[in-house]
Point group: C2
Chain length 347, copies 2
């Protein structure tokens, strides 16, 4: 059925010849423009089939300046990615919305500094109409890069200061507010020595959650704060540090569920009863984790999947409507999604 077998892949021209019409007509037919006679359209469809014709996107996007693909860039050691259910939810939402828009999501990983130039070239090379970017550290060059090359982009999580360009569009959860609510809950339970395990403090979400903690506990001692790394293991270690420093700790706000589950393990290992001796509140509400821990985790809920959808939707506005920018004056407003406390058994 393939028919070609000469050297090159069939072009519009080949199809046109075979169907006995002009290139433009074929182009119209292929792009589903209505102004093509049905019989002709059918003839074209056949030719396309017989030749196995697939439009050359490079040529097409050279003129249309679009290619219906958007990059999803994840700056994260791959191994963390494949272990953290957080990304799974995010990606699911993104995928859903992107596909809905008819755009092909293409996933790019950045694992080491060497990757930046290559990925940058890909992003700037017109392969994609826009980019969705994640997990940015304070020193991540990506925000500057996309801004510099004028690629429409939406960030997952507020880009940390340092990437400090004014007008980035992002979607973020109300990390600070959520943290406040968590800590207030602990306070309302009568807890007096409330510690916190933070995420890596070069990430905005980690900083914001710590700030929320501080908002409520204005005079909390630095002794009560330990920096984790958003992994289970890291959570356990930070918990150990905290316990060693403050044996009288009676509550802890942990900046992620994964870390909280590690903290729980450490607590149990040391014979602390939860929540009787130490109450713990997590962050994320990843049900696969929060409902599986012993006891089930009280935690701050954020709708991660929906945040993903939102990101894709914002990007779409940015790539389709030219409404804004030209002079950067009308950056599409970012959105901060609400969080809420989900009380289970750990606090």
């Amino acid at each position: 059925m393939t028919e070609r077998s000469n050297g090159h892949r069939p072009t519009l021209e080949d199809v046109a010849r075979r169907a006995g019409v002009s290139k433009s007509t074929v182009s119209r037919a292929i792009n589903g423009e209505p102004k093509v006679r049905a019989s002709v359209a059918e003839r074209i469809r056949q030719a396309v089939d017989e030749l196995g014709y697939v439009p050359n996107q490079a040529a097409r996007s050279l003129v249309t300046r679009r290619n219906n693909a958007v990059a999803v860039v994840v700056t994260e050691p791959q191994n963390r990615l494949f272990v953290d259910p957080y990304f799974d939810s995010h990606l699911r939402g993104i995928r859903q919305e992107l596909v809905h828009q008819g755009a092909q999501p293409v996933l790019l990983f950045i694992e080491e500094p060497d990757d930046y130039p290559r990925v940058g070239n890909f992003l700037g090379g017109g392969h994609v109409d826009g980019a969705l970017l994640f997990s940015l550290r304070t020193d991540d060059p990506l925000p500057a890069m996309v801004e510099h090359m004028g690629l429409p982009a939406v960030f997952g999580g507020r880009p940390a200061i340092g990437s400090g360009h004014r007008s980035h569009t992002y979607v973020d959860a109300d990390n600070r507010g959520g943290a406040r609510e968590a800590v207030r809950h602990l306070v309302s339970l009568g807890r007096r020595r409330i510690g916190t395990i933070t995420g890596p403090l070069n990430q905005a979400s980690a900083i914001d959650r710590l700030d929320g903690y501080r908002d409520v506990l204005l005079d909390a001692s630095p002794q009560l704060m330990a920096e984790g790394d958003f992994t289970l293991q890291g959570g356990a270690e930070a918990m150990a540090v905290l316990l060693d420093r403050c044996p009288d700790l009676d509550a802890v706000f942990v900046a992620s569920d994964l870390m909280a589950s590690g903290a729980l393990r450490e607590l149990r290992g040391r014979g602390r009863r939860i929540p009787d001796d130490v109450a713990v509140v997590g962050f994320d509400d990843l049900t696969t984790i929060a409902e599986a821990t012993e006891p089930p985790l009280t935690t701050v809920h954020q709708d991660i999947e929906d945040m993903g959808r939102l990101m894709a939707r914002l990007l779409f506005k940015r790539t389709s409507g030219e409404l804004e920018s030209r002079d950067g004056s009308h950056p599409l407003s970012s959105v901060v999604t609400p969080t809420r406390l989900v009380v289970r058994k750990s606090a």
Copy 2:
């Protein structure tokens, strides 16, 4: 520093004007051709910088027919992907080799039938020089699609029959041989009632491993075989089925480590001692699993990461050297990598 701020992204022409040379010279400089005077090259480099110029890949690949990007297509519900360490290793190897070749890996997921046409268009659209494809089921349309559009591709795992096109290049482990070795080991231990938990039998690897089992146990009863789905849960369930059917089972060959860990759990739950009552051998040798089970898992080792590298290398040959094909006569030979039994405590 960005300087442009008029409407469009800078082109070769802009750079040329600014550097006071012709487009051709700029093109040469940018592509690192040696025949450009150093002083001129420097001037060009500067102009590029000042303008924030990034070559338009669409234009470039329209003429070169290359774009230094290769697709990695994963046909798998995303959630399984993000949970199975198998993919992690595979991707790591692929990434390493691809990057080494200067190619940008782009990851595409196929989760539902609707995705095929869109992904197909992307693949055929000249966005990538080739594709690495995974996890193909017997009825997967992808092999036919890439063949039809003449896109160089290498498969991870032998495409199951049914995708039956003669000349696909693939990298696969010696599943059948590995399974044989596993079962022979069980036999040598004096086991008499040896069952097997298979993977989904629409995947070649699952079929091959079952065939290996049968090679050794020519007259094994179907009662001794239960089909799993390569998940932990599925492994546990299949184990339960087997145990109900054959209470006197004294060994089981499980077609993946993840399933084996589920089987172990079920076995323990029923009070069977391992390996005393029932010996179990897995497949994959994912150390994060195999070394963590209780008892540690005897299993068939395959070097997954290396298989990934191999795939990328084969694809490279297929995309760079034109050596082969034109008439399809010289398909690049596939490679089957060896496996070996790693004996730990479970058998």
